[in-house]
């Protein structure tokens, strides 16, 4: 019975993930006074792209083709590690949070290699920027998860979020508040949202993430888009599980609340995108250093407790 539930959780996450960008777009549209795209727009796009035949430039090699596949594969694997509403997923072991970070790193690495493989100036620029920000974002994320492991005393993601309860907020509120802030900043940067990047930009010079995937088409692009939505889901789930660790025992109500929170986070991202302008490129590292500072503070707090 348990295995069915975890499988169901996994499938729900995998299927609902493309809904999040839709929510964000709707919120942004609402703030801009527009009606906006349908919620399920990304599903249509994915479907359309999957049917198309990809076009490959003659200068590219197998690395270019492997990039999106490795990317989406590592993100799906990462999703399998991720607890759902505080419940363990079917793939959990001690220290899996480190594995999670490496999976994200692998996805990034594959995308960057594919971008470099094209030999295009824009893609190289995008790859360079992506890596530059990753240098700041990854330590922040890693330290944050380490702090969370210290708070709960659990070495696995499932353990961490299983042990996290409302009581933890009563005893370790400062740490959790700092972590939430840090994760949210990392989410914005990692998912190329405003203020780090603008997903809607059409000017290659200002792009970061988008610039890397300019040459992908057809199913490859579908993989990349799907991978991006999975990544958003992943970070969103971490934030939800930190902010609202609810374990009533009832699987259905927990899950419902969790899903509601996920859409809440997506709406939050939409609001941030609507009210904040994009940062100047040179200022983005400052933002990520702030996240790093938050995570480091949380860890120091926890260590000395």
């Amino acid at each position: 019975m348990e295995i069915v539930k975890t499988l169901f959780q996994f499938l729900a996450a995998a299927l609902l993930a493309p809904l999040l960008p839709g929510v964000i777009n709707r919120v942004k549209a609402f703030f801009a006074g527009r009606r906006g795209q349908p919620l399920g727009q990304l599903y249509y796009d994915l479907f359309k792209l999957l049917l198309k035949t990809p076009v490959y430039s003659r200068t590219t090699t197998w690395v270019f083709k492997a990039g999106p596949i490795i990317g989406v594969a590592s993100l799906v694997t990462a999703l399998a590690l991720l607890p759902f509403a505080g419940r363990p997923s079917f793939f959990a072991f001690e220290g899996d949070f480190i594995f999670l970070i490496y999976l994200l790193g692998l996805a990034r690495f594959a995308t960057v290699l594919a971008a470099l493989d094209t030999g295009s100036a824009f893609e190289g620029m995008g790859a360079s920027r992506e890596m530059q920000f990753a240098v700041f974002a990854e330590p922040a994320f890693f330290l944050g998860l380490a702090a969370l492991a210290r708070v709960t005393g659990q070495p696995s993601l499932a353990g961490m979020f299983g042990a996290l309860t409302g009581d933890t907020w009563r005893t370790a509120a400062p740490v959790l508040a700092l972590l939430t802030a840090s994760f949210f900043i990392v989410l914005l940067a990692e998912n190329s949202r405003v203020p780090a990047d603008d997903p809607n930009t059409h000017l290659e010079l200002t792009m970061i993430h988008e610039a890397m995937v300019l040459d992908h088409s057809g199913p490859d692009l579908a993989f990349i888009l799907y991978g991006a939505s999975l990544k958003l889901w992943l970070f969103g789930a971490l934030i939800c599980s930190t902010v609202l660790p609810r374990h009533t025992g009832s699987w259905a109500s927990d899950s419902a609340l969790f899903l509601l929170m996920m859409f809440g986070v997506a709406a939050g991202v939409g609001i941030v995108e609507s009210v904040i302008a994009r940062l100047r490129l040179t200022k983005v590292p400052f933002m990520l250093i702030t996240a790093f500072a938050f995570s480091a503070l949380a860890l120091i707090f926890q260590m000395g407790r």
Binding site: A173, P174, F286, T290, A293, L297, M303, G304
Partner: protein, 221 residues
């Protein structure tokens, strides 16, 4: 209640970080004032039960001094001296924030090493030490005279929080004398800044370097 006090402590530390990265002089002044106010409120949060009337009165004095009068004096000094809007650090902001974080790590280590009486609010000692370090950072790595006054005030805030952590009850008269001194210090420094701006046409302390034994006697002839 204590969670609230602890969150306040975190807030104070975050303000230290913010002070390390803020590039605008007026928000620096506001941050220092806010930190002073938060530090002034802290004893009311940390105690058990309803706060004592004396404590409330003293907190009111501190809040009005640090939250209203100091920022007013400093803003006035800034406007009159034509100090401009920027802080003008000597080191980059990421370096500032890293130094600040390092200071916090050092002070939490120091806080655990000091044989202090058990504080009833966690992190109050490291937070106070980190605030003092931030004050030194502001004094040493910022160019303008006014930021040095701000650094002095931040040090003063940190020492005040440190005093709370140790529960050293000073007699009212001494506390007031200390506050009076700090007030006069800010006042006198404000006047000095005004004179510096008139004499030098700016308040860049890097220019205050004529008196030195390392480049003796270069002035004049």
């Amino acid at each position: 209640m204590h969670t609230f006090a602890e969150l306040t402590i975190v807030f104070i530390i975050l303000m230290d970080l913010a002070l390390a990265v803020t590039g605008s002089l007026s928000s620096c002044i506001r941050l220092v004032a806010l930190q002073g106010v938060v530090a002034g409120v802290l004893p009311l949060l940390a105690g058990h039960g309803a706060p004592h009337l004396r404590a409330v009165a003293f907190a009111a004095v501190i809040i009005s001094l640090k939250g209203v009068i100091f920022p007013w004096l400093l803003m006035r000094a800034r406007d009159r001296s034509g100090a401009g809007k920027d802080v003008e650090p000597l080191i980059s902001y990421p370096a500032s924030i890293m130094l600040c974080l390092g200071a916090f790590i050092a002070s939490s280590w120091l806080g655990s090493r000091l044989p202090l009486p058990e504080a009833n609010v966690a992190w109050i000692v490291p937070a106070s030490l980190a605030t003092i370090f931030t004050g030194f950072l502001l004094i040493t790595t910022r160019r303008k005279a006014i930021t040095q006054v701000l650094g002095y005030l931040v040090i003063e805030n940190g020492i005040y929080i440190f005093g709370l952590a140790l529960f050293v009850e000073q007699p009212m008269m001494v506390e007031l004398a200390i506050l009076l001194d700090v007030f006069v210090a800010v006042f006198v420094m404000g006047i000095a800044i005004f004179h510096i701006s008139r004499e030098f046409d700016h308040i860049d302390t890097a220019e205050l370097s004529e008196l030195s034994d390392w480049r003796r006697g270069e002035y004049g002839k």
